[in-house]
């Protein structure tokens, strides 16, 4: 039964791809509108074989890693600070909510204007887009730690720092990681959008090239597949981190 449940998503994907393949062939849909999955798979393999995909993947991975880690770290620090300090929370929270309501992607052109079309602007978009989910989830998780646990720490003479290290952060771990899971996939979105605003390499640049000057729709879909794989990999990395941390029961 469990095996069947594990197989179900694979079976559903296979069925969808088969329907797609048959529909495209039956109705003779032009390749520049919707290529068949088999055509996309071949183009995906070609793009890897001739180095196109790798050349565009590496800059995106770099932006996701640097921007995601930077945004995650800043979000963690901001979330902890606001989670611990009621007065800081009262002052900063309205701005945090306002900033989260502003589409970060709309700030892209401003960031390019300030930081230029290079790596810095893309990293900044990634960092900003990952900062808020991590900051908000950390704030809530650190603030809402069980009052009984905190009373226990006080009764044991724990300093504020010790309470954070030994009680608040371990108790808030799953909440913080839930924010990190959301942030991981958003980091990929941030990098792609950052690349749309300018630059010479990256999966976002490849999307524009495939759609525009190359007019290569199978490559466009192959690129989308690569972006999806990158997003899932980023998500899986956070899940792996969660596993490692949950094994570390002291």
């Amino acid at each position: 039964m469990r095996r069947l449940t594990q197989l179900t998503p694979v079976a559903v994907a296979a069925l969808l791809l088969a329907v797609w393949e048959v529909a495209v062939r039956t109705f003779a849909v032009p390749q520049f509108i919707l290529p068949a999955p088999s055509v996309i798979a071949v183009r995906f393999a070609e793009a890897w074989a001739d180095g196109t995909m790798l050349r565009h993947l590496l800059p995106t991975v770099t932006e996701v890693m640097i921007g995601g880690l930077l945004g995650g770290a800043l979000g963690l620090v901001m979330g902890i600070t606001l989670g611990l300090s009621g007065s800081a929370r009262r002052v900063v929270s309205p701005y945090l909510v306002a900033a989260q309501s502003t589409p970060i992607l709309a700030l892209g052109p401003v960031l390019v204007l300030w930081l230029g079309p290079g790596l810095a602007a893309k990293v900044a978009v990634c960092a900003l887009i990952t900062l808020f989910p991590v900051a908000i989830s950390t704030l809530v998780a650190v603030r809402d730690v069980d009052a009984g646990t905190l009373e226990l720490m006080r009764s044991l003479g724990a300093t504020r720092w010790q309470s954070l290290r030994y009680a608040r952060l371990p108790a808030a771990r799953s909440g913080i990681l839930a924010g990190a899971r959301v942030a991981a996939t958003l980091a990929v979105v941030g990098a792609i959008v950052g690349e749309w605003l300018g630059g010479t390499a990256g999966l976002g640049v490849l999307l524009n090239l495939a759609r525009g000057s190359l007019f290569d729709t199978p490559l466009l879909f192959a690129d989308l597949l690569q972006i999806a794989i990158l997003g899932v990999s980023a998500y899986a990395l956070v899940l792996l981190l969660e596993r490692v941390l949950s094994r570390r029961i002291a």
Partner: protein
Amino acid sequence: MQILHVEALSHSFGEREVLRNLSLSIDAGESVALLGANGSGKSTLLRLVAGLLMPTAGQIALVGSAAAAGRTEVGIVFQEARLLPWRTVLRNVTLPLELAGESLTTARATAEAALTRVGAGGLLDRSPSEISGGERGRVALARALVRRPSLLLLDEPFAALDAITRARLDDELPELVAGAATLLVTHDVAEALLVADRVLVLGSDGAIQLEVPGLRGQPSTGRRAALLSPDGAARQTRLYGALDSVPHA
């Protein structure tokens, strides 16, 4: 030697006064049980003695100096075991020592000895979620005893346990506390008489209303029999009478 001296203690939560002009002393190694209805201020008294609350008025002296949170002379066991689920049983008990700056090696040895003393020596590497309620109670007791406190505060520590486990822990408690003076708050008259040298009843006016001698001085094998003897029954009757006169919240 006096371990705890409470003088004219009052405490209010906003307009509501829960303790009024309460005075109490506990000598080294002595065990005192405090009975009272819900909302009578029993747990508040423990939090004041532990330094977790500041009194509205009055004095609390612990081994001669004012009460403050985290003093090593005091151990506290709350109503719930409050074990940290991300730490093993052993590391829950090493926690007070780690916070005090002891090395983990020394802390482990001390914590292991404390767990063995309370009959939980076989649980060291287990997670709190893998042990029973009674075992969690023992681990919480070991954590409170690991710094060798002079005074142990017990806030209905076994209230959530089943009757058999609770009776067993009540029987063992006087020996488990390893010479520390204890202040136990409870609703249970029999428990109070079994574990204490003196049983106090907290009245509705927030002050001590009645004091009855407990049975802790009896040999452990004879305590339950003493509880059911005519003298034990008379003590219970007096305590129930005093509790009945207190309006319940």
